[in-house]
């Protein structure tokens, strides 16, 4: 049914349709509306049987999800940013144990400095932990990916993160088609665990593994992610057949067929990039954009196939590896091993800095004109950066960086954006 609802609400309804049995909730902006929506559904009796546990921290949230999943329940939680880091030990634990927990990460920057707005630093920080990471471009896709996530995770016995841009998607009200319960039930069968704490068949979960078998256990996690590369497109295909729309998959190219320049990105910024690409195409420029839906497992072959004919690739990402450069661009570079083309890393939108069509158009034009540096921070205010560097050169006790910069920026509340 078509609804005009907030992204968080759409996700809450989609998750509820998946018949979760244990939901654990700890508040952190900007995911709170998701767990609140689910809490209300449980409390009012609409979502039953389901245990909704208000936990005392994110570490507790993932721990509760682990216990619930190990005991055979379909489990769900949501977090962002600091919360994801607070549960990091348990996040690794969940994938190490192969428990098919589904977690929404409402992508938000990690502090310090504390920042509640969107970027991908949180999920990027956990990209190597073994969880599958799926990125949503729209709220429709965010809702749909949760259905696919439970299906995928339970098939493989691996946990899945569904990543959606905090505030930009979570707090946007837009049109979403929420499927019917019967449709979801036909797509997502009840959870059949591979391992479960059951008095009738006692097993011990969580053994210590030494040098004798650790490599093998970890290799199997790697093998599962490789299997996921095959399952993701198949499940996305089945989803499209049942629900009538394309959602998920590994990658989604847009106007890449004869493109000389291809932009690569994850998440909601793809929408703004597509509008920019359309404008540039109308002006005769051969440019396209590749959206990556499955970030982990990283679809090396699919990315290579999509990009190999281009002359230049611009990876636009809301994340970076301090001192080194891009994170996504490093993965893309791996996919393009041995292929000669111009690669650019553009880091944009950190901490919620708006990414505008105008800035994108300028950046892409610079790349095409060969005027873009290999690594750029889009829309960086060099004035305040240089002032701080100068400040530090002049005095030892130059004070906290963030506070200095903010004084130079001036009153933000007076600005429109």
């Amino acid at each position: 049914m078509l609804k005009q609802i907030e992204g968080s609400r759409a996700v809450a309804e989609a998750v509820a349709l998946c018949r979760p049995e244990v939901i654990c909730a700890y508040p952190i902006s900007p995911q709170t509306h998701i767990v609140e929506g689910l809490g209300e559904l449980v409390k009012s009796g609409q979502l039953t049987p389901c245990e909704f546990v208000n936990v005392e921290s994110e570490f507790a949230a993932m721990s509760v999800a682990i216990g619930a999943s190990a005991a055979g329940a379909r489990s769900y939680t949501a977090t962002a940013s600091q919360g994801l880091l607070f549960m990091a030990e348990a996040v690794y634990n969940a994938s190490g144990l192969g428990l098919p927990i589904v977690m929404t990460v409402a992508n938000r920057a990690i502090g310090a400095p504390i920042n509640i707005w969107n970027d991908h630093s949180d999920s990027m920080s956990q990209r190597d932990c073994g969880w599958l990471q799926l990125f949503a471009e729209t709220n429709q896709e965010a809702a749909d990916l949760h259905l696919q996530a439970f299906r995928l995770g339970e098939e493989l016995s691996m946990p899945v993160m569904v990543c959606m841009d905090g505030f930009i998607l979570t707090h946007a009200v837009e049109r979403v088609d929420i499927p019917a319960q019967a449709e979801v039930d036909a797509f997502l069968p009840p959870y059949e665990p591979r391992q479960v704490l059951d008095p009738d068949e006692p097993v011990s979960i969580g053994a210590m593994v030494g040098p004798e078998a650790f490599m093998e256990v970890r290799y199997l996690a790697h093998a599962k992610q490789t299997m996921a590369l095959e399952r993701i497109p198949v499940i996305a295909q089945e989803f499209e057949e049942r629900f009538g729309r394309a959602s998920g998959g590994l990658v989604r190219p847009y106007r890449c067929e004869d493109a000389e320049t291809i932009v690569v990105a994850l998440g909601s910024v793809l929408g703004t990039i597509k509008d920019t690409v359309d404008d540039m195409r109308a002006a005769g420029i051969r440019i396209g954009v590749l959206g990556i839906q499955s970030y982990r497992p990283f679809p090396l072959a699919a990315v290579r196939a999509a990009l190999q004919e281009a002359r230049r690739v611009v990876v636009l990402e809301k994340s970076f590896s301090v001192g080194l450069g891009g994170i996504v661009s490093t993965d893309v570079r791996l996919a393009l091993s041995g292929i000669q083309l111009q690669g650019y890393t553009v880091i944009a939108g950190l901490g919620g800095r708006a990414i505008t069509k105008a800035s994108l158009a300028r950046t892409f034009a610079d790349a095409i004109a060969g005027q873009l540096q290999p690594l750029t921070f889009m829309d960086l205010d060099w004035r305040i950066v240089n002032r701080q560097l100068e400040r530090e050169r002049q005095t030892r006790r130059s004070g906290p960086i963030a506070e200095n910069l903010l004084r130079d920026v001036g009153t933000v509340a007076a600005k429109v954006h």
Partner: protein, 193 residues
């Protein structure tokens, strides 16, 4: 694509107003996107909300930099924030106030835009009479329907019924209708002179 920007303060329902606008557009069978720009929970801080309406699916996610419609829920922002920034020449402006543009000190600015596209409406006062509370958000949308015709009053009232319930919904609907009539009269008077 139509782009609307709403300015107000936290606690005044600016975000809800943008959402109701998107609901009204949805009711009329159009695509709509509404999203806020704000910080942590805080009453009184300046808040900006955006709404896009189109007959095609909306992919753009940037803030509304060149609005076709500007709604100002709190006139105290007029001299604190550059609310008119980027407003298109043939853009609509609706300000919540019982005073006119000159009296509000934005007469000069307003002359950059088209007469007949600008209006003020005492939405807070209308809200007080119908709701007993100074919540002008739904009321202003009634005024917008009259000013621009970009959403119908019926669609606005449908959005109100979807957002509020019972007596509150009914009161908001009535208040929106009153604002609609007020702005209609204001525009007619303007044409007359």
């Amino acid at each position: 694509m139509l782009q609307i920007r709403l300015h107000g303060r936290g606690g005044q329902g600016v975000v809800t107003a943008a959402e109701m606008l998107s609901l009204a557009a949805f009711e009329q069978g159009r695509h709509a996107q509404a999203f806020p720009s704000f910080g942590s929970e805080r009453t009184g801080a300046p808040v900006v909300a955006f709404c896009r309406i189109s007959d095609e699916p909306i992919r753009l996610r940037e803030p509304v930099l060149q609005p076709d419609v500007l709604i100002v829920q709190d006139p105290t922002l007029l001299h604190q924030v550059d609310v008119f920034q980027g407003l298109k020449e043939d853009g609509y402006v609706l300000i919540n106030s019982k005073r006119g543009f000159e009296e509000l000190g934005v007469g000069e600015v307003s002359r950059r835009f088209r007469p007949g596209y600008l209006a003020t409406v005492p939405a807070t006062e209308i809200a007080m009479r119908h709701l007993g509370r100074p919540l002008p958000n739904a009321v202003l949308l009634g005024g917008l329907a009259a000013l621009s015709g970009l959403v119908t009053l019926a669609a606005v009232q449908h959005a109100i019924r979807h957002t509020f319930s019972g007596k509150v919904a009914a009161a908001n609907e009535a208040a929106a209708a009153e604002a609609f009539d007020f702005v209609t009269r204001e525009l007619q008077e303007l044409k007359a002179c």
